[in-house]
């Protein structure tokens, strides 16, 4: 999928300014930036939740799905896990059940979970349910907007492992958005850095992290907290 010269304006404010970005098939593109950099707005434009100027080619808009930051807000509290996951499926009842089970197993959740309500689940499990729901639409592109920032460290690892296994097993392309550079580095093939609505640097992960070219990327890298380093 190619995003070409995409601009989003809210009144006089330009949230995303002329962004061009390619997401190769089967690749995870990590998008980092601080609050207000426009990364979430870009995600919303890609998924069609906000109007934009510019072009998005190479993907069927109906097959772009998104997973949200807060798994406590992205599942309807009054629907069972099975109902949420099966919501977008257009299948007869019997097949639907089997498909829900298949989707849950893709995100390593037991089929028995289908009858439970979100309140009975931990944050990490809810986030996996949200991923399963998105996978039900057989997406060409999955947009993951800060999907680990509301999770505790001990379950964050499991969700990141899931993201990587989905790419390997399903060949899923993904736009992975996070403010946490260490997390983006771990899952992404390509890293794109956004600052004040513009893309300031894009490149293969090792290059951007190992030899940043833009000053802003360098200051972001500098600021990543590290265990046992005293600055």
């Amino acid at each position: 999928m190619i995003i070409k010269n995409l601009t989003v304006r809210f009144g006089a404010f330009t949230a995303v300014d002329d962004v061009t970005l390619e997401i190769p098939p089967g690749a995870i593109v990590g998008l980092v930036g601080e609050s207000g950099s426009g990364k979430s707005t870009l995600a919303k434009a890609v998924t069609g939740l906000v109007p934009y100027r510019g072009e998005i080619t190479g993907a069927d808009p109906r097959r772009i799905q998104m997973v949200f930051q807060n798994p406590y807000a992205s599942l309807d509290p009054r629907m069972t896990v099975g109902a949420s996951v099966g919501e977008g499926l257009r299948l007869p009842r019997a097949e639907r059940r089997a498909e829900v089970e298949r989707l849950l197993s893709l995100v390593s959740l037991p089929a028995a979970l289908a009858g439970r309500y979100p309140r009975e689940l931990s944050g990490g499990m809810r986030q996996r349910v949200a991923v399963a729901r998105a996978l039900g639409a057989r997406p060409e592109l999955l947009v993951a907007d800060e999907i680990t920032s509301a999770l505790d460290v001990s379950v964050q690892g499991a969700v990141l492992n899931l993201v990587r296994s989905l790419r390997e097993e399903l060949g899923l392309s993904m736009l992975f958005i996070s403010h946490n550079l260490a997390v983006v580095r771990y899952v992404s093939d390509v890293v794109a850095v956004m600052h004040q609505g513009r893309l300031v640097e894009t490149g293969p992960t090792e290059e951007v992290v190992g030899a940043p070219r833009h000053d802003y990327t360098r200051s972001l890298l500098e600021a990543v907290p590290r265990l046992g380093r005293t600055s």
Partner: protein, 607 residues
Amino acid sequence: MRHLLRTPAGLAGTILVTLMVVLAVIGPPIWGAEAERINPAAILQGVSGEHLLGTDNLGRDILARVLVAGRLSLVLALLTTLIGAAAGVVLGALPSVLPRRGARLVTGTVNALVAFPSLLLAMFTAVISGLGAKGAVLGIGVALAPGFARLTQTLAASVASADYVAASRMLGVPRMRVMTRHILPNIAEPLILNLTQALGNALLALAGMSFLGLGVQPPSFDWGRLLFDGFGRIYDTPAVALGPAVAVALAGIGFNLLGDALARAAARGGAAVKAAPAGAAVPRQETEPDPEAVLEVRDLTVTFPGGVTPVRGLSLTIAPGEIVGLVGESGSGKSLTASAVGGLVPYPGEVTASRLRLCGSDLDDLTEQQRRKLLGTSLAMVFQDPMASLNPALRIGGQLAEVSTVHQGAGRAQAWERAVDRLDHVRIPEPARRARQHPHELSGGMRQRVVIAMGLMGTPRLIIADEPTTALDVTVQRQILRLLRQVTAETGAATLFISHDIAVVGELCHRVVVMYAGRVVEELPVEQLATGAAHPYTRALVASLPDMDTDRSLPLASIPGRQPAPAEVGSGCAFADRCELASDRCAELPPLVPYGKAHRVACWEAS
């Protein structure tokens, strides 16, 4: 239900409504014949032993008629409310289903109807649809609809912006289905609560219509009609009008009280917060207190009613100039520990400790006033959301200066000067200009600096920072961490830094205390954190955290299962069911024992 009966208002409402319903059911069969019996011998009588409320112009007993009229009054009120609610909910829900232009039209219409006087709307509809009960019911029903429509619209709009609605729209679920599956079930509760109150209002309004002669027509009668009939005689026999009036009033009050109480019961949880006293149920520790320590806590326990114990026997000592990091997942009890030290545990939580010493004084020995003064001058607290500590309506300088005027008795000009000086100290550019600004004019990082400056107005001995950088960007986080380190070094204060982010703790602190399910599982010097941790939980936390050197070809470590909630913690090691090393011994609680230099761990299997 139990909460409903606990308040006097809820109890009164429930009793009144129950009485009215019983009356509506049993009234007509018992007193029906009596209410219809015409007695030419007893026309227009006053109050007597035989006719407690007198008789009307056909000699019928008014008390019996009041008791019988209950059913019609309530049934009409119910019908009216249903008409109003049905029309209102449909009107209010339409904007979420219709395309943009249609939605605007409906919203505009609802706005206009809300602005239109409802009594006029009711009369207008009643007159058009014909005199009598039908007209009154339709009229009042129509008058109730705009209120319901507005409520539905507001509630639906808030649910419509939820992530789960966006997710199902992305999956291509049709609007109508989103409405019936997501929006309506999630707004049903407040709507149903509102119905009860609307019922009371409808009852009063219908009585009003009947009283004006626009409602129920003879030979039928409701309370309003009886009031209308009796009103002419109010000067010679007041009881004939007062009887139905009291019935209308009681029913109206009953439904409104019940509605109020239901709404309050549903919104419970936003209950008033008040500080719980630090109890002294635990016997005092016999050992000598540490004279050097700024903060010394022994066996701190925080309990909530129902056996919920989020903090269990926590001990902690912090020396001057030392930064101690308290890490744990959400629900581990780390923030409540800080609240307990600051005396901020919300009601009905109860705090007990065998020792709670701050700056050499036992907090339990101080009077309330001394405690407040000690905490006010020597404790600085920084929270995750700086707006929670700043009053949005006041200038920053004034809020800082208040600390000096209240606790140190400084004059206003002097206090303001110190405020500007402190803002300068935390490296806020143009401090004199910033002091005159309001909190909303500052960025998140600047606000957090202001909160730190506020702590520096006194001479803080203890700084408690609870997730102070969680809401900030990494580059700003770095600056705030530097500032905290600098402030700790300068003032010689002890700092307790609470965070879920073990990397931040590892970068800032001297010593790290790891909490799990309310207990300290390990306490270690920061140099040991990356490679020398002994507790399996600490090790798993460190391993599951990706950093800039993590091997990208290997899966990250993750811990199966989840931390038990404070009510579920058993008597043994709380981490046992997630632990690879768990053995039979873990059914017994492992004590926190020394493990090398300045290192303590609570695990049977750590070696």
